[in-house]
């Protein structure tokens, strides 16, 4: 299976801002934030079609998201998950002694995961804390 190593960043997006104000448990927030934007070349290297699910693995965790090219394009080798619950499953908490986690510029491995399910925000966060009871 094709695996690629990318440099990941996470930043705000207007879609994320609007959805977050609507509520982090809404489908809007899920749509806005559970995607990874990467260069079309890198999607090709993975041997998948755009909009297929991928697994993103970092030094501190992993998450399933949908791979898209996106409007605000990345150069080959760079990828972006919008700020929020999905990105923070993989953001390393190291801070270079400043308090600020490594939100921008950390290595991730991306691999196809077409048949894996993207988890919802509550499932990810409650799940990480042993509180997730399954879909109500």
């Amino acid at each position: 299976m094709a695996k690629i190593n990318l440099n990941m960043i996470t930043q705000r997006a207007i879609e994320e801002g609007v959805a977050m104000e609507k509520g982090k448990t809404t489908p809007d927030y899920f749509e806005a934030c559970s995607i990874i934007e990467m260069n079309a070349e890198d999607i090709k290297k993975l041997g998948i079609n755009p909009n297929a699910n991928v697994r993103v693995i970092s030094e501190s965790g992993e998450v399933i998201v949908k791979a898209v090219v996106g409007r605000q394009t990345c150069y080959p080798g760079l990828c972006h998950i919008r700020q929020g619950v999905w990105a923070n499953q993989v953001v390393p908490p190291r801070t270079q002694s400043t308090g600020e986690p490594q939100y921008s510029g950390f290595p991730v491995t991306v691999e196809p995961a077409e048949y894996e399910r993207i988890k919802g925000a509550l499932e990810l966060v409650q799940g990480a804390c042993g509180l997730w009871k399954g879909d109500e």
């Binding site: 705000r12 448990t25 605000q72 270079q96 400043t98 308090g99």
Partner: protein
């Protein structure tokens, strides 16, 4: 008759727009229409009066579900958690007014807590650089009226501060900038082709994490030195062209964002941005400004510097000996080292915005969330206390990204009689004093 309220402040991003017009229902309980706000601001006002808001505190039960409790009980529980903890952490304040921040400061001092705000994971690096290197800044009004060259470096206002460009930087016609965007040059420096890059005259697509080198190249050029043919992925000619435009400006402003603070180098990236601004002042007038994320996230820096002498990462566990030492007293570092034994999440969502290992560490101890809405933090806490939405259900003073204070207004009555942040913290403080006396 529906009532139109003008000059309303928007409680979302650091642009802190105060020209919003809100139409409210007859009985003053519902927002009917919002004018002048961007898509996000619009959502903030409408969401606040959507039915189904949580209006009473909720306590986590042994089976994992929440039970509604009274404010009185919630206040008692919060006070007890703070009194019993050795080193509680009170963190957040991205979305509250200065009155709430000040009241929380009193609680933190009484509790011997660590008091920290979202700058800790956002523009904290800027504070460190500003302490070291100064801050040749200005107000957004000066940018609007004077600036003819704007640099957005590692910031993306098209998404993070949607009206920043139209209200302050690119498009408005100011006193000396009557031609609006026709008379301005925009330079965007970002590793992605962002929507901000698309409206810029020049986009330098810097290699992610190499901003420091690029700043260094600009400084070298400004000092009359030569640079390699390619720096940080940018060809020499492009750097010379941009530096030339910057030197010829009548008044320039560098607006920088998270791309500098969140990448390798952190405060050093901001430090060299400030040095470049200083270099530019050899030629003409240049200023620099941090694109602060939330409408009042400049607030805690101002309020607590006045109260305690430090803007963030304030350790009061030694009671009368307050100190600040990011890396040691910063929220994420404290969490990762398991050094705190209670957590108050106020006016933010650490559940969604901290790296998940930090959330897991904090969750080992009592977790209180004070927030108007359901968010990730509220859904993992032991106690959730809803409060009024600042800028919608209560007014107050906020500091815009340029540290200009603005009086925000209340437009509707708080849903279901819920308390404001200030009222809540004052009551927690009183209860802590009572518990002290009982002991």
């Amino acid at each position: 008759m529906a009532k139109v309220i003008t000059g309303v402040g928007c409680p979302y991003c650091g642009a802190s727009c105060d020209d919003i017009e809100v139409t409210v229902s007859d009985d003053g309980t519902k927002v009917l229409e919002v004018k002048n706000a961007c898509a996000i601001g619009n959502q903030v006002f409408h969401h606040a009066s959507t039915p189904g808001r949580i209006t009473s505190p909720r306590l986590r039960q042994p089976d994992g579900t929440y039970k509604e409790i009274s404010y009185e009980e919630a206040i008692d529980r919060a006070a007890r958690i703070l009194v019993n903890a050795k080193k509680p952490l009170i963190y957040g304040f991205g979305s509250t007014n200065c009155e709430g921040m000040s009241a929380a400061g009193r609680v933190a001092e009484k509790a011997g807590a660590v008091l920290d705000n979202c700058a800790s994971i956002c523009h904290g690096s800027s504070f460190l650089a500003i302490f070291d290197n100064g801050y040749p800044s200005c107000t957004l009004g000066e940018v609007k009226n004077r600036a003819d060259v704007i640099v957005y470096w590692a910031s993306n206002p098209a998404h993070a501060h949607p009206r920043h460009m139209s209200r302050y930087s690119i498009f408005p016609r100011g006193f000396f900038t009557g031609k609006g965007h026709m008379g301005r040059k925009i330079i965007c420096i970002d590793p992605r082709v962002t929507d901000t890059a698309r409206v810029a005259d020049i986009h330098l697509q810097v290699q992610q994490g190499h901003d420091y080198e690029l700043f260094n190249a600009f400084r070298t050029v400004l000092h009359g030195g030569d640079i390699p043919d390619m720096v940080a992925g940018i060809p020499k000619e492009k750097i010379l062209e941009a530096a030339g435009i910057m030197k010829k400006a009548r008044f320039g402003t560098v607006f920088y964002g998270m791309g500098l603070c969140h990448s390798d180098g952190r405060n050093h990236n901001v430090d060299i941005a400030i040095s470049m601004t200083r270099d530019l002042n050899e030629f003409t007038k240049w200023t620099i400004m941090a694109m602060r994320g939330h409408y009042n996230i400049a607030g805690p820096g101002v309020v607590w510097s006045w109260q305690f002498g430090f803007p963030y990462c304030i350790d009061m566990t030694k009671r009368d000996l307050v100190h600040m030492n990011p890396g040691e007293t910063s929220s994420v570092d404290l969490a990762m080292r398991d050094e705190v034994d209670a957590f108050v999440n106020i006016g933010t969502d650490a559940g969604a915005h901290f790296p998940i290992p930090a959330v897991q560490h904090l969750k080992k101890h009592p977790w209180i969330t004070i927030d108007p809405n359901i968010c990730m933090a509220s859904e993992i806490s032991d106690l959730h206390i809803p409060v009024a939405v600042v800028g919608v259900e209560t007014g107050g003073v906020v500091y815009r990204m340029d540290n200009v204070p603005i009086q925000f207004k209340k437009v509707v009555e708080p849903a279901g009689g819920i308390l404001t942040d200030e009222e809540l913290f004052d009551k927690i403080y009183e209860r802590m004093c009572e518990l002290d006396q009982e002991a």
